[in-house]
């Protein structure tokens, strides 16, 4: 495993909550991410997998310091061993840390896509950008189109190319592939892999476990705003016995090729989280302890897990 190497990004006990006004003129705090642990090493693709509402996209925005104004954060984020303060975030984002946003609405509607992808890098990038556009199957005329003239899949590929053009050491790719054809998605992911081989790192945020296992080195599993397990991608290929957390196992077993087995119940809502392990209400292995205190992070068989059982 990679624990001894120096990390690029290290997130410890991180939490995000939103300050909200309730109906009685008071303020309430809505906790959406809590106790998040994550480490990204240079040269790897780390996938973050979780269902919608598990806090995956917020994580990317939090790393970049782009959370809404009413967000309150806790815990620490270290970039190259030093704390990522708001000033450093401003300095690094777009240069050392790049985002592939989830929504195509992140494109400027009034700017032609070619110019937009080049960004402020100057004209020297144009050739490189044309190469990337071509590799991703974007026709040559795409650079002269405005975002509204693109299909969903094309817009997504333009977003990916904006990040590939930067010299960033860390790419945060938030659901980069939906809407692309299989060949285009594979090409985009191959380009991410090439970047990782140059010693950069990619955080691949996705709800698609198949995709994550296929392309990432390690997979972090999110549930209700917490990382319940971080495992090698090969552990998922080896099946449920190689996994450590009951939720990861259930996720594996729910895939159509692995039994298609659902689990009763729902992911708890932000603001309505149980006191202990967020998965406890649905967990077949829960004990009284699980319902009162969140298990600490343990290293088990080369992976990290938050479970008292976690064998």
């Amino acid at each position: 495993m990679t624990e001894n190497r120096e990390s690029l990004l290290s997130i410890r006990d991180f939490g995000v909550s939103f300050q909200r006004y309730d109906s009685r003129m008071g303020q309430t705090r809505l906790q959406v991410i809590s106790n998040l642990h994550l480490t990204v090493y240079p040269g790897e693709i780390l996938a973050v997998v979780g269902s919608s509402g598990s806090g995956k996209s917020l994580l990317a925005l939090a790393i970049l310091g782009m959370l809404p104004l009413n967000a309150v954060t806790g815990g620490e984020i270290l970039y190259r061993g030093k704390e990522l303060t708001p000033e450093r975030q401003k300095q690094l984002r777009g240069k050392k840390i790049a985002l592939v946003p989830q929504s195509v609405t992140f494109l400027d509607p009034l700017m032609k896509t070619g110019k937009q992808a080049d960004g402020q890098g100057g004209t020297g990038l144009t050739q490189k950008r044309r190469d990337i556009f071509r590799r991703l199957g974007l026709p040559g005329k795409t650079e002269n189109l405005y975002p509204f003239q693109l299909s969903g899949g094309m817009a997504r590929r333009v977003l990916v190319s904006t990040a590939l053009l930067t010299e960033a050491e860390l790419i945060l790719a938030d659901e980069p592939t939906p809407g692309m054809s299989l060949e285009q998605a594979l090409e985009a992911l191959r380009m991410f892999r090439e970047m990782a081989e140059e010693g950069r790192a990619v955080l691949l945020i996705t709800h698609d476990l198949d995709l994550a296992v296929e392309f990432a080195d390690r997979v972090a599993v999110f549930y209700a705003g917490t990382t319940v397990e971080t495992a090698r991608a090969s552990d998922f290929q080896n099946g449920p016995d190689a996994l450590r957390h009951p939720y990861s196992r259930a996720l594996w077993e729910s895939l159509p090729q692995n039994g298609f087995r659902p689990v009763n119940g729902f992911q708890p809502y932000a603001g309505n989280l149980p006191g202990g392990c967020p998965y406890a209400p649905r967990c077949p292995l829960r004990t009284a302890r699980c319902e009162t205190a969140l298990p600490p992070v343990r290293t088990v068989r080369g992976g990290e897990v938050r479970c008292y059982d976690g064998a």
Binding site: S51, P178, P256, Q257
Partner: protein
């Protein structure tokens, strides 16, 4: 007893190319057919035509030998990929479900819907939860055929398995004919008793 598309031609404007050209297929009651094909081959257009959201320029769509009715509940119901876009954001979900007739609160459990969700707006539920409402709305209308257009693509594995368990249980009980549009090879193999590939024509 089948849902049939007979020599269907369709294009969006008179000048644009055909999206579907001489397309024919049959889905029997009680069978689940996977429809696959890369993006841009007219999977969603076919879904909309089968459910009567759009009418073919040439050819016809028949449910049990009859053309789709122009008023009243359609026997072919479409469930879309993005539930957010198929639900009126200004309605509470109770009203959304009442689109398919009088609300049968005792049946909500079958669809995995919690009673408390009925008094929320669409923006206050997750995609997987909203998709359950779309499934319930389609099934409670008394449909005989379902067209499922990538209904679980945006969902995580567990939620996907939950949704399909509901659909398949109901399908078995009512002998529904189902068209499953998906690009997930494993899902197509699991669900479909046979496969229609739109590139093969």
């Amino acid at each position: 007893m089948a849902l049939e598309a007979k020599n269907v031609f369709f294009r969006y404007t008179r000048k644009s190319p055909w999206v579907l050209e001489d397309c024919s297929l049959t889905i029997e009651r009680g069978e689940c057919v996977a429809v696959t094909g890369p993006s841009g081959y007219g999977k969603t257009t076919l879904a909309r035509l089968l459910a009567g959201w759009q009418t073919p320029d040439k050819g016809e769509i028949l449910a049990d030998g009859k053309p789709l009715p122009t008023r009243g509940p359609c026997p072919v119901q479409l469930i879309c990929q993005h539930p957010q876009e198929a639900i009126n954001p200004r309605w509470k979900l109770r009203k959304v479900l009442e689109e398919s007739g009088k609300l049968q609160e005792d049946r909500l459990g079958e669809f995995g819907i919690e009673r408390a969700w009925l008094d929320r707006f669409a923006g206050e539920l997750s995609g997987g939860e909203l998709q359950r409402f779309c499934v319930a709305r389609a099934l409670l209308s008394g449909a005989d055929y379902l067209v499922c257009d990538e209904i679980s693509t945006m969902l995580d594995g567990i939620t996907q398995a939950q949704i399909w368990e509901t659909v398949l249980k109901e399908a078995k009980k009512r002998n529904l004919g189902i068209a499953v549009i998906t690009h997930n090879f494993h899902l197509a193999k699991k669900l479909g008793s046979r496969r229609i590939d739109l590139t093969a024509r």
